[in-house]
Symmetry: C2
Subunit: 203 residues, 2 copies
Amino acid sequence: MHSDPVVFVIDDDQQVREAIQLLMESIGLKVASFASAQEYLDQFNTQDHGCLILDVRMASMSGLELQARLAAEESHPPIVIITGHGDVQMAVKAIQAGAVDFLEKPFNDQALLDSVHHAIEKDLSQRGEALKLADIRTRLKRLTPREREVLDLVIAGQRNKVIAIDLGVSQSTIEAHRAKVMEKMEAATLSDLMRMMLILELR
Amino acid sequence: MHSDPVVFVIDDDQQVREAIQLLMESIGLKVASFASAQEYLDQFNTQDHGCLILDVRMASMSGLELQARLAAEESHPPIVIITGHGDVQMAVKAIQAGAVDFLEKPFNDQALLDSVHHAIEKDLSQRGEALKLADIRTRLKRLTPREREVLDLVIAGQRNKVIAIDLGVSQSTIEAHRAKVMEKMEAATLSDLMRMMLILELR
DNA sequence: AACGGTATAGGGGTTTTCCCCTATTTGGGT
DNA sequence: ACCCAAATAGGGGAAAACCCCTATACCGTT
């Protein structure tokens, strides 16, 4: 079911990659190294999880560019930025864009480990969240347009009678739709249904 | 009802305070200046809103310290950090701690204005949120412990019969509590009630 | 001692939901 | 031509919720 988290190291300096690899392996973390952002993107898939350690200064695509690209995806592992020549502005932008941390080389080993731990924790929780949401969305997709319409009105607290009038059909039709909705959404009670829908609304 | 947003400038350099004041007033924003964090704290009240422009290096209490103090409060205006001698680490910490922006002196006037605008927007939305939450919490406080207990079980989707058995009382007692809950929470439908409770849970 | 709020319990009635059926029409796919 | 999913509609009954009323007991305040 669950694979181990992987630390994806993306840095065009082989020395750095190897050093980080050793450091991570010393605490039992798996590592996958890439010499360029493109190399990483080529094998990127949504199953991967863990975190990214990303160098800013790289040929062709910078770490910050990769960060922006990944931000456009539905979901990606948390990012730790490392850089040899960082400035305040760059660091601010990176963190504002959601990076977990921004470290200057040469970094303290423990600081990087701490950031990676933090990133992996964040990955776990955000993946848990994403899974729940995806699950609910999958069920929602099973609804017909009409059922979806009824669902929305149910969630809004309308009684069947009112929904029937609203949609210009009989009450028994609404009852039928409503039963279908509960079945397809795998909701035992109205409370379950509302919880699912509000999670989508509020997150 | 609504007062204008105020830019609270906290910097021990009078020149800087005056420069920022002029800049802010040039676009019609109100300003309140303070020469120390303590001065600001002394007059701090939760009605204030707008944003803070905070210098890092100050005698006795630094901007970052003040940021930490305010973070302990239930709610405070968004913070823009400015500094003459910032480093990457400091910037990262400040943004991670929730600062809207971190600017180095001498800053570009437009950059500061942009940050302040962003901060004020954030203030508006976070105050709106906080108001909604406070409103719900106020109503919740009106419930007796027993009513609160019933509410929780209702939200969990339990039927009155089950709640009655759970609490070892009769069904009609539950009905009475339930009616009281709806009245005190000002909820017309179960849907309203669930929405309020889930907003508290999920935010 | 009287009062108000809380928790309890019940009667009696209406409305709504929920669940089990059947049944027709329409439109798409085999 | 046949079948299936979707949308429609209805009957009938059980369960639950909702509403209005009364009533008792306890507890703390005035």
